[in-house]
């Protein structure tokens, strides 16, 4: 692969990488829950991207490439530091969730007007309380709009696992939001 000159490197960095800074920071924050760690993670990601810009193929999916770098940095360097004692690890969690592939979480109909008043804080808290592997697929799919194929490459899991993980993650979120709604006195089950 041909080495880029410094002007080309800078141009690619500014035009193809930097526009994704907000999305990367948002992802990093929701992985770590800490602003200082999210900043370090984003900084590391951009530095790695800059150093390895020669291996980036111009015109391909820069956003997915950057998210993959960030996810790998998180796994390799940050995950242990950010792990919270009250969080359940995906691998622990999956052992008792695995038989529940087709589980159904009743009806949580968010079309009801009352849910439109639900605060963003509650939604964010419910997502942040998910095990990190579930949280990751929700953030990548529902917040960032990546396809299953892109998520599969970013997270290094088969497409079928992306789909089943999303299904489980959404069911968990519905349970959490249903609990919140019921605690607030709202009727959530269809009669």
């Amino acid at each position: 692969m041909a080495k880029l000159n410094s002007q080309d490197r800078e141009r690619i960095f500014n035009s193809e990488f930097l526009p994704h800074a907000d999305a990367l920071y948002n992802f990093a924050f929701h992985l770590t829950y800490r602003e200082d760690m999210a900043e370090d993670l984003v900084q590391d990601t951009f530095l790695k991207a800059f150093r390895f810009v020669d291996s980036y193929q111009l015109g391909t999916n820069a956003k997915a490439w950057l998210f993959r770098i960030l996810k790998n940095s998180f796994i390799n360097d940050y995950r242990k530091k950010s792990k919270q004692p009250n969080k359940v690890d995906f691998e622990d969690f999956i052992t008792y969730q695995d038989s529940d592939e087709a589980s159904h979480v009743g009806h949580l109909d968010l079309r009801q007007e009352i849910f439109q008043d639900m605060m963003g804080d509650e939604i964010t808290k419910a997502i942040n309380d998910l095990p990190v592997d579930f949280r990751t697929v929700i953030l990548l799919c529902d917040v960032e709009g990546f396809t299953y194929e892109e998520i599969s490459k970013i997270v290094d899991i088969p497409i079928g696992t992306v789909r089943s993980r999303l299904h489980r993650a959404r069911n968990l979120l519905k349970e959490k939001l249903k609990g919140y709604a019921q605690a607030m006195g709202y009727k959530t089950e269809k009669s």
């Binding site: 930097l18 920071y25 159904h104 079309r111 997502i127 529902d142 917040v143």
Partner: protein
């Protein structure tokens, strides 16, 4: 595409997930929608799931990268290049 038995059928739920996440081909999508066209329970379930996805995306708090951080990143890259 075979019609689902009910809105809790795993095959139906799997197809709903694929549809709302935009991973079905046009042909698959049309066949799936045709298969549930007269099933009110399935149509309602699909609508609820579509709404749930939109709800998450619209309500999730988004954090932005500060100008200070962007400046620091650019500076570090310049240093790295030298």
């Amino acid at each position: 595409m075979e019609a689902p038995h009910n809105a809790d059928c795993p095959k139906f739920l799997n197809n709903v997930t694929r549809l709302i996440d935009g991973t079905m081909s046009n042909e698959e999508e049309q066949a799936f929608l045709a298969s549930i066209n007269e099933n009110c329970e399935c149509l309602e379930k699909l609508e609820i799931e579509q709404h749930f996805k939109q709800f998450l995306a619209s309500k999730m708090e988004r954090k932005c990268c500060s100008e200070k951080l962007l400046h620091s990143i650019k500076e570090q890259c310049v240093d790295d290049a030298d």
